[in-house]
């Protein structure tokens, strides 16, 4: 049984890749070209490339389905759908955030313009629902609803993130809720939609949704830390980039909200109209650290990962079944380096 599932996992990965690629064939030529560029299938001038995303979310769909004792090959539509929703949100968020680079390439709007980016995001969101709805499963309706509710949380998270830009009183808990919506929700969905679609016992979907939500938050907190103290070769972003754009990520919000001298100094820097020079950026990073923002985010990420691994151990008494998931969780939370 286990070795059959392992064989099926490899096949399911390849099948997911092919299904993702063929899903965009349904689109009109212009929109397909833009989506294929974003997904790394080809370059701006249609030269084939091999620059796919990391595929974390489809991998979670397949792994959780296998762990729940179901065949990953039966949940390919769910794996494709979560990847499409993820990429819809990336393309639209890049427009809203004005980000010009992603995965070491110019973003869609920077390459093809605003309208093409809006349409490509719309297309991937619609395709996700379409591909998922076609899955031949009696429980497909639940999966479609779960994905739609997740999309609402992605939108809520992005709306909150944008609202934070003009607010000085964001609390760390509000920030965590925003990050749970922006990142936790889709990981929760990716960890539960496979077992749901494959009609596995309900306890798996429930536990794995919590697992995914917590891993997602740990992943986002680690990303926030990398956005200040990270290595550009790993993140694809310049060092201190989040401070340069004065983003209100969790470590920053915790520091800004702290009743410390460093917090007060950071608030003054963040309020300044003019952009910060390199020395001031380095100073801001030090202030976040001195105000306790770095330590707080590190502790919270570690706590979320611990809870996630505990949930996993509870629902899978046999640790071998959970091993690929716990390894992936640890990696996503940045605890493998």
């Amino acid at each position: 049984m286990t070795s059959v599932l392992t064989d099926n996992l490899s096949l399911a990965r390849a099948t997911t890749h092919d299904a993702l690629r063929s899903s965009i064939e349904r689109l009109d030529p212009e929109t397909r070209h833009v989506c294929g560029y974003h997904l790394g299938f080809w370059d701006r001038d249609a030269t084939p490339t091999r620059l796919p995303g990391k595929g974390i979310r489809p991998e979670l769909v397949l792994l959780t389905t296998g762990a729940a004792g179901r065949d990953p090959l039966t949940v390919i539509p769910a794996a494709v759908a979560v990847e499409l929703v993820h990429n819809f949100s990336l393309v639209h968020d890049d427009v809203m955030d004005g980000d010009e680079r992603r995965r070491h390439r110019p973003t869609v709007w920077a390459t093809f313009g605003l309208s093409a980016a809006i349409l490509a995001g719309d297309a991937m969101l619609a395709l996700a629902g379409e591909v998922l709805a076609e899955a031949p499963s009696p429980t497909v309706g639940f999966a479609v609803q779960a994905l739609a509710a997740t999309t609402r949380r992605l939108i809520a998270g992005q709306a909150a993130d944008l609202a934070f830009e003009s607010r000085e009183d964001v609390t760390p808990e509000e920030c965590l809720r925003m990050e749970a919506d922006k990142t936790g929700a889709l990981l929760a969905c990716s960890c539960s939609i496979g077992p749901m679609l494959a009609d596995a016992p309900a306890r798996y979907a429930a536990a794995l949704a919590e697992f995914g939500e917590r891993v997602g938050l740990a992943f986002q907190l680690d990303d926030d830390l990398l956005g200040i103290w990270g290595a550009p070769e790993r993140t694809g972003k310049p060092v201190l980039s989040d401070l340069r754009s004065r983003k209100k990520t969790a470590p920053v919000v915790a520091a800004l909200a702290s009743d410390t001298t460093a917090g007060a100094a950071l608030r003054a820097l963040y309020r300044r109209e003019a952009s910060l020079d390199e020395d001031e950026l380095a100073k801001a990073a030090t202030l976040v650290e001195e105000a306790g923002g770095r330590r707080w985010a590190e502790h919270r990420a570690a706590a979320e990962l611990d809870i996630a691994l505990g949930v996993l151990a509870d629902v899978f008494p046999d640790a071998r079944r959970a091993a690929p998931l716990s390894a992936m969780a640890t990696r996503l939370a940045g605890r493998d380096h």
Copy 2:
């Protein structure tokens, strides 16, 4: 039977309105406010208003379901879903087209900014799929797929429309395909998704989809004519507005493609860098007419309406069953004035 269905139709209209309104309650407060503004439930400052859209698409869902012998009250989720998809496309199209006014008010992006407009459109698209997927019907999967495929056509139509802006060689047939995608597809879906969801005999959904597609094209062609020769108080747009923005609508494309002196003069005007003054706009309208663009569009609209009414007569031998639909088709195609 018929009078029960008529009673149910009134109730279904009211229920659809309430269901649309409560669907946006699921959204985060920021996005809900923006969607409610667009849908005419309240003003920019949250003052309640009563400025709903015409609700053509939900009305078609309810009427076609009744005509197919099913209870309109069972297809409320489909009526809400098509209205949400329609409004998603309006909000995003207004961004792409740079349109600042809609339904006699500033558009969403002009009121709340680009990011809010992108998110509000995304939210209505996701909500549409969610609301529809919740419908307690054994055929809900087909309805979800039909709506998703329709959304792809809306996107294809908008992509083509944008691509036409920089092309001089658009053919009338390409233009009609674009208009069928932008307007026909969602009317086809609105006319068939109700019978589909209510599990009416398949011949109804097939015939009503063709009816809706053709009515949609006639409706769009009439809208194109109104965009040049229309009454601002009916359209909410200034007179000659489509010529001012040099939109390549069907009558214009037919004129531009014609082998006439007027067509050549119009091509020269459309190629000019500088904007056109009032005299030149009036001249352009005359050239479209002289080149045969107006007559061609009028004939084509009339032909599409005729075919639509023929399809209706075939599938409903009892004309009384089809009467509300044929009346609505005639009105949408602008043949009632």
